[in-house]
Every structure is written in C-alpha cells, then in structure tokens.
C-alpha cells in the first residue's frame, strides 16, 4: 500500500472515531459549561468559558455515592477472585467427575436475565437483612462477575505449562501451595483482567443497585445519576460532571490496560 493510501486510511479512521465518540465529547463539553450557557440555543460546540461549578455540585451531591460504588466494586473484586480463581484452576486442570457439566452450568447461568435475579433475590435479601447493605450489593454484583471470571481464568489457566506444576508437585508442594505460589503468579495478567472487569461490572451495575437500595443508607453512583437526571433536567452540567466522574474507571481501564480489554471482551462473553 502506498504512503498516501495509508495516511488517507488514518484520516478516515480519525473521522470515524470522532463521529462515533461524539456523545462522549458532548458529555465532557456540557460538564464544563455553566447552567445558564446550557439554556442557550444552539449549545456551544466548545467550552470557551469553562467552569468547574458542575463538578463542584457533582462532588457535593454525588461524592458519597461515588465512594459507595467504590467500596462495592472493590468488595466484589475481592470476593469474585477468591471464589473464582481456585475454581477456574480446578476446572482447567483437575480431572474431577462432573467438570464438564460444571463448566456448562457456569456458561448457562450467565444467561439468566438480571431482572429474574433482582426479582427473586429481593424477597430473599429482605428476609435475611441484606437490603441496603454492602454485603448484599457485593453478593448480588458477584452474580455478574463470578461466571465471567471463572470462564476467563479457566481459559488462561489451562495454558500454564504442565512442567511448572509438575515441578512444584515433585518438590512436595500440596495442591493449594502449588496454586498459590506457582499458578497464580504465572497467571497474573489473567487475574488482573478478571479483577478489572469485575470492578467495572460492579461499578456499572444499575439494576441490582436500584432494586436493593432504597437510598436511605447507601446509594451507588448509578442510582445517584438516575435520580439526578430524573429530578433536575435543567441542571445538565451537574449531571454531566457526575457522568464524567462515573466514567473515570472505564477511561483508566482503556488507557492503561487496553491489551487486557480485548481479551476481556472476547474471553468472557457478554456484558450485563
């Protein structure tokens, strides 16, 4: 291909990205304008007179919800990895009776609609006092992350060289010791990928958040935005500033861990 063709392709690619990401641009643009400026038509294409008042309001009204989501997301990551990593290793490596059936079950449970989970977990949670609680949200969000993490970790762990495991076993390591000191370090990237996506899924969850929290004690950021949008549709800079803040984990993930992202999408099936 000639150089001009290549440069032309790059130009077309940039235009495609700009058009496709226009909504994201407008989110940032609106978040930096004043409420008054946003009531003028047509809207300014660029924040020529930027103001941080939207962000000030976002942090004032939604800051605690961001912290709530952070706690839930981190808790989900820990719980998910603790449950999924050993299981994934067993499903990848051990010849246990019923392994194949278990993998099938893990694949199938991913397809249970979230609304069914919300509907049936609500009375269960209500009975055992898990509504409006961090443990309840972490457990609910883990239904989104555990199957995903098991499948993606299993794929990677079946690629660990058998000699490594054999060597540890010959040295007298038990199964758990082998897993902890050989398999996990070797699969560090896969564990990071599973952890990052678990964080993102829990952070983005809206259905469980809106079903299992009443807003009295804890309120995740997704519910915060939902109520924010519903209440004050004239206060768009505050809403968009909150949206920008809630996008930070996704942006960080894309910028710092891009190579894991494609692996996550192709490896784990569907986003909830």
């Amino acid at each position: 291909m000639t150089t001009t063709r290549r440069v032309l392709n790059t130009a077309v690619g940039i235009v495609l990205v700009l058009v496709f990401l226009a909504p994201v641009y407008w989110m940032v643009n609106v978040s930096l304008q004043s409420s008054d400026a946003l009531l003028r038509t047509p809207p300014a294409w660029f924040p020529f007179d930027p103001t941080w008042s939207g962000y000030a309001e976002a942090i004032r009204t939604q800051g605690s919800h961001l912290v709530t989501s952070l706690v839930i997301a981190l808790g989900t990551v820990v719980f998910t990895l603790v449950v999924s990593a050993p299981a994934a290793y067993a499903l990848a490596r051990f010849r246990l009776r019923g392994t194949l059936a278990l993998v099938l079950v893990v694949l199938l449970v991913q397809m249970v609609p979230g609304i069914v989970m919300a509907n049936s977990l609500y009375p269960i949670f209500s009975g055992v006092g898990l509504l409006d609680s961090y443990p309840g949200m972490i457990l609910a969000d883990s239904t989104l992350t555990v199957p995903f993490a098991v499948l993606i970790l299993r794929t990677f762990m079946s690629g660990v060289p058998g000699e490594l495991i054999e060597a540890a076993r010959v040295d007298g390591c038990g199964q758990w010791r082998t897993f902890g000191s050989v398999v996990l370090p070797v699969c560090r990237n896969a564990v990071i990928t599973a952890g990052l996506f678990s964080f993102l899924f829990a952070w983005a969850d809206f259905l469980f958040a809106v079903s299992f929290t009443t807003g009295n004690t804890i309120q995740p950021i997704t519910v915060g935005i939902y109520r924010f949008v519903g209440n004050q549709t004239t206060n768009w800079n505050g809403v968009m500033a909150t949206a920008v803040l809630a996008s930070i984990p996704a942006a960080v993930l894309l910028l710092t861990a891009q190579r894991y992202v494609a692996a996550g999408i192709t490896g784990g099936g569907v986003k909830e």
């Binding site: 790059t10 909504p23 407008w26 989110m27 609304i115 239904t143 997704t222 809630a246 494609a262």
Partner: protein, 320 residues
C-alpha cells in the same frame, strides 16, 4: 486471543493430576477448589431461579413482606399477564428493540471491523478508542443520550434544525412515536464495540493468501468480501449474533434511564415491565412470571449458542 473468540477453548496441556497412593484424600483436596464456587452458584443462581419459578405461582403484595402471606394461585399470574393490554405491546417492543439493535450493531460493527483490518498508522489505537462506549456504565451513556435527545436544548434537535432537516424540534423521548426508536439508537451505539471486537478478531483468522489468490483471479473488493470474508466468518457471526441477542433481550438500564418504559408504555419491554410490576406495583408474582417468559426465550437461544460453540468446547474441556 486474536483468533480465539470463545470462552471455553484452551490448550489441553499436560495434566497436573497424578495418581498416588492416598489419592482419595487428594481428590477431596481438589474438591475444595471448586466448593466455594459451587456453593455460590447454588445459593445465588439455582435457588433464586427456582424461587422465581415458585413466586410466579404465588400472589405477592406489599403485605407479603411484612406478614409473610403469599398464597398459591396457580396460573393466575400468567393469565393476568396475557390478558393485560400492556402484554402485546411489550412483546412487540422487545422484538423490535432486539431486532433493531442487533441488525444495526452488527452491520456497523462489521463495517468498522473490515475497515480496521487495513494496516495504517494508529489503526490499533483508534480501534481501541472505539471500545469506550462498551466500557462506560450504561447509566452514564443513558444520561448523555438523555441530554442529546432533550427537546429544547439537546444537541440533536439543534443540529437537525440548524441543517434545516426539520422545522420543529422532535420530542425524541416524550412522544409515543419516537421513544422506542430513540432507545434503540442509543443502544446501537453501546453495542457496536462488542461486534467490532469479536468480528475483528474473527477477520484476523482469515488467511491473507486467500485474498491474494482471489485478487489474482480478478475478484474485486465486494466479491472478495462476499465470497471469502462472509463464508469464513460465519461461525463468528453466529456467535456474535447469539450473544448479542441474549444480551439485548435483557437490556434494562438504557430504557429505564431514557424513558422508564414510557410514555404510555411506548418503550416498555418485557424486562422493564417485569421491573415495574415487581418494584413499582409490588406484584412480585406477576413480575416473576414475566421474568420466566424471558428465561424461556433466553434458554432457547442459549442452547443454540452452546450448540454452535460445541466443537471448540469439547476440545478444551477435560472430562472426569
């Protein structure tokens, strides 16, 4: 991972398992690896799904939560659903939402995947940036589209007015005529990256030599696409459509934040309706019944999906 779009494949390397005397204890230790996950699946999938089935045959009210009464009512919930005037609309909306989202996500995703197959500077970076909508929380994307669609101040109407394509602002979200279409467009935007990534990795697996041979034989770009790309991509296409379908069926966040299913149920799908029945009207029995309908539909497509990946699946799994 570039040529591999499945969740289940993997190289079956040498096994860690060794048969030793005392293998029974060894076997027990191995089970401790899967036990926490099995407990979790039992408590948080099997039990809720069965519970949901039971709930659909019970009458639930607000009082059920305080006094505990949820009497068995047989098929009453299902009969109430089918005879509800909302039912037909919700089924139709779900079908339209799914078909509309899927077809455009797929065509746009495939177009972009073919484009990004070309080698040019920044190709990888630009393709990576395209993933952003998939990574954003749906509520965030929904909030952004809520502003874009705003009748008075949103950029979409201002743009269309400025270009003289319309003479009056369109009430994108508040008219029964446009609400569903608006939700579909927003959902297409969210779903394109997923199609792009999976189709792109599928395209990487098509040998370049085939294109070269076809080009030598005088095949044009369109012919090469139709005669080589599409046939070889068919398994990947099947997977991307199947997963997209299962995913789109249960979309909740986007519709909820854009329209809440309204106005006048114009954008109500089975998922949002189920939520409204349970969490707004506290009729968890009917909500459960709608949920079970969704499970049946999802299950049919899930089985089709499992059948389509069966080949890769059996090569990666170990049997016990």
């Amino acid at each position: 991972m570039t040529t591999n779009t499945r969740t289940t494949s993997g190289t079956s390397g040498p096994r860690a398992t060794r048969r030793k005397p005392g293998g029974n204890r060894e076997g027990l230790v191995k089970w401790t690896f899967v036990l926490p996950m099995m407990l979790f699946l039992l408590l948080f999938f099997c039990y809720p799904v069965l519970r949901n089935l039971a709930m659909s045959f019970q009458q639930w009210t607000v009082a059920s939560f305080y006094e505990g009464g949820s009497p068995f009512v047989g098929l009453d919930n299902y009969i109430a659903l089918v005879t509800d005037p909302i039912f037909g609309g919700a089924v139709l909306n779900t079908a339209l939402f799914t078909a509309g989202s899927l077809s455009f996500q797929f065509v746009i995703g495939l177009g972009l995947a073919v484009f990004f197959q070309r080698r040019f500077p920044l190709s990888g970076t630009l393709r990576g940036l395209m993933l952003l909508p998939w990574l954003l929380p749906l509520v965030v994307s929904g909030a952004v589209f809520r502003w874009i669609y705003d009748e008075g101040f949103g950029v979409l109407n201002q743009l269309l007015l400025g270009l003289h394509l319309i003479s009056d602002p369109i009430p994108w979200l508040s008219s029964t005529q446009y609400a569903l279409t608006s939700a579909i467009i927003a959902n297409i935007w969210v779903g394109v990256p997923f199609n792009l990534v999976i189709l792109h990795s599928g395209l990487q697996a098509v040998p370049a030599s085939l294109y070269e041979a076809a080009a030598l034989d005088g095949a044009g770009p369109w012919q090469r696409f139709r005669m080589i790309t599409l046939p070889l991509l068919r398994p990947v296409i099947a997977i991307v459509l199947m997963l997209g379908l299962i995913y789109t069926l249960k979309v909740f966040d986007m519709i909820m934040i854009l329209t809440g299913g309204g106005p006048a149920n114009a954008s109500e799908t089975l998922t949002t309706w189920s939520f409204a029945l349970s969490f707004e009207e506290f009729d968890f029995g009917q909500g459960a019944a709608v949920g079970n309908l969704l499970i049946v539909v999802a299950l049919v497509f899930a089985l089709l999906y499992l059948r389509s990946i069966r080949n890769t699946f059996s090569s990666g799994g170990e049997r016990g």
